[in-house]
């Protein structure tokens, strides 16, 4: 159903990391689950979905929030009041 390459690619897209030692197990398990999902292919898709969804918006007013100190208190690395993250480029 899914190949080891598919799993490797998706794991990379999702940034969850995957070892060579795990790839066989993950491929087998994900294949099993995705095969189970195939029951959805037998569904009648002609029926329109009811979409009673709407946004809940509020006025753009300042409301209480966390202080800078509180926001940074759980960060592993900070610098001059900012979060410090690895380089992106």
């Amino acid at each position: 159903m899914v190949t080891a390459e598919d799993v490797r690619k998706v794991a990379k897209l999702a940034d969850v990391g995957i070892d060579d030692s795990e790839i066989t197990e993950f491929t087998r398990q994900c294949s099993g689950v995705l095969e189970y999902f195939e029951i959805l292919d037998t569904l009648d898709q002609s029926k329109q979905l009811i979409r009673e969804r709407y946004n809940i918006l509020r006025e753009d007013e300042v409301t209480p929030s966390l202080s800078q100190e509180e926001s940074l208190q759980n960060a592993g690395q900070t610098e001059k009041g900012f979060f410090k993250a690895p380089r992106v480029m």
Partner: protein, 432 residues
């Protein structure tokens, strides 16, 4: 005036991840009542990990709305309970900090994912507990540990401060040893909150009534079908007969969408998880990244180290379901199936007041028994429909098989949590 109590439980079942030895509490309807809170619910100043290594050491700077309400009601919050990592599991074995044991048989699981909350209440370590239910995570451990657990109607309890796994499915709810105490806890936590846009202005102030004369109960044949332990089915059928003897009327019904419900659930929850869990990047919380490596490399390494296998598996499955070229094949079809589940409930609940069946297809599993993920997922078949539709559902103990408790599940109409609670109460007062 603030009072204090000491909390030093003999936690031989590993129900708690964190305990508070000296608890301060105030006046109110729950004054001095000991309440445990699942570790995916944010508590100001108290470590909150979701039973994941990636959040080890995270001390939230704010309280979840339910925690504020509990404190205002005088509750003594005694600790944070163990769970499957981020709520992903049915046994509490997926905790990064080791499993919780079932207080009634330590070779068995307490159910999950709110297994620590159920075990803490079941073992009598505290009076009440708060859990969260995405696909059965309150009702399953309630059934396996022989206590009462309610998944409220979606929107009835604020999710502000609940660390999200699958927003469209999950609700916070009460767990207790009896229906009256559960009802009291529910009255404290239900109600609107502007910080959760999906919360609804439907507070709860109900005293359970045991009069169920004329109540119409739908009994779907699919809840007693393939995969359900016949002994469990038998105990639940007897419980439904007890409700009949109290004046309720039963009616057989069918739920054809049950065939698709589990797939719809797992496609939806893994998709939502893959998006929600992207925030765990180790920058704002977590161990911290300071490496000369590039962003993706450092991020992947951190998440591989910090997340357990089930969490990574669900993120992979969810990413797959949402990926270009697969969206139409999985996610879109899952939403059609979800609509079918809602339609089935609406159709059945036009004719009857509540639906009854088993909470779980079996009694508590032995530790390590469900090692294959799909086998584990299949055990959620009877609990996920209520989450897909958003309707309220309760599990109340109704007997035993091989010495282990069985839960009777009662599902109701939207915002009819009161009737679901009354039905459970009537059974509890007259039943085993």
């Amino acid at each position: 005036m603030a009072k204090t109590l000491s909390f030093n439980p003999d936690d031989s079942v590993h129900a708690f991840l964190t305990t508070i030895p000296e608890v301060t509490y105030g006046e109110g309807p729950l004054s001095g009542v000991t309440v445990a809170v699942k570790d995916n619910i944010t508590t100001k100043g108290i470590e909150t990990t979701c039973a994941s290594k990636i959040l080890k050491g995270y001390i939230p700077p704010y309280d979840a709305h339910v925690v504020t309400l509990l404190k205002d009601a005088g509750a003594a919050i005694v600790g944070k309970t163990n769970m499957d990592e981020f709520g992903m599991g049915t046994t509490t074995e997926n905790s990064a900090f080791g499993p919780t044991l079932n207080p009634l048989d330590k070779n068995r699981v307490p159910g999950g994912s709110s297994g620590g909350s159920a075990a803490a209440v079941g073992a009598g370590l505290c009076d009440l507990a708060i859990g969260s239910d995405t696909g059965g995570s309150i009702r399953c451990p309630a059934a396996f540990c022989g206590i009462v657990g309610l998944k409220p109607t979606y929107g009835r309890v604020s999710r502000f401060g609940l660390i999200a796994y699958a927003n469209s499915l999950e609700q916070i709810g009460p767990m207790a040893r009896d229906v009256s105490s559960l009802s009291k806890l529910f009255s404290v936590i239900a109600g609107p909150d502007p910080r959760d846009a999906t919360s609804v202005d439907r507070p709860y102030s109900h005293e359970p009534l045991k009069k169920i004369d004329g109540l119409k109960i739908g009994v779907p044949e699919e809840f007693f079908g393939e995969g359900v332990n016949p002994q469990v089915a038998e105990v639940v059928r007897e419980a439904i007969s007890t409700l009949e003897s109290l004046g309720a009327e039963t009616k057989p019904c069918t739920m054809p969408s049950m065939k698709y419900a589990l797939s719809a659930y797992y496609v939806t929850c893994t998709s939502e998880a893959s998006s929600n869990l992207a925030r765990f990047d180790g920058v704002r919380y977590g161990p911290g990244l300071d490496s000369p490596k590039s962003w993706h490399e450092a991020y992947s390494e951190q998440r591989k180290e910090g997340f357990g296998k089930e969490v990574r598996r669900r993120i992979i499955l969810g990413t797959f379901s949402l990926a270009a070229g697969y969206f139409g094949r999985y996610y879109q079809k899952a939403q059609t199936a979800r609509q079918m589940v809602r339609d089935d409930f609406e159709r059945i609940l036009k004719d009857v007041d509540v639906i009854a069946g088993p909470t779980m297809p079996d009694i508590a599993f032995r530790l390590g028994e469900k090692s294959d993920p799909l086998q584990m997922y299949l055990s959620d078949i009877l609990t996920v429909p209520a989450n897909l539709a958003g309707v309220p559902a309760i599990s109340v103990p109704c007997g035993r098989v091989d010495g282990m408790p069985v839960g009777l599940q009662i599902i109701g109409k939207y915002f009819d949590d009161e009737r679901v609670i009354d039905t459970a109460y009537a059974f509890e007062q007259e039943g085993v």
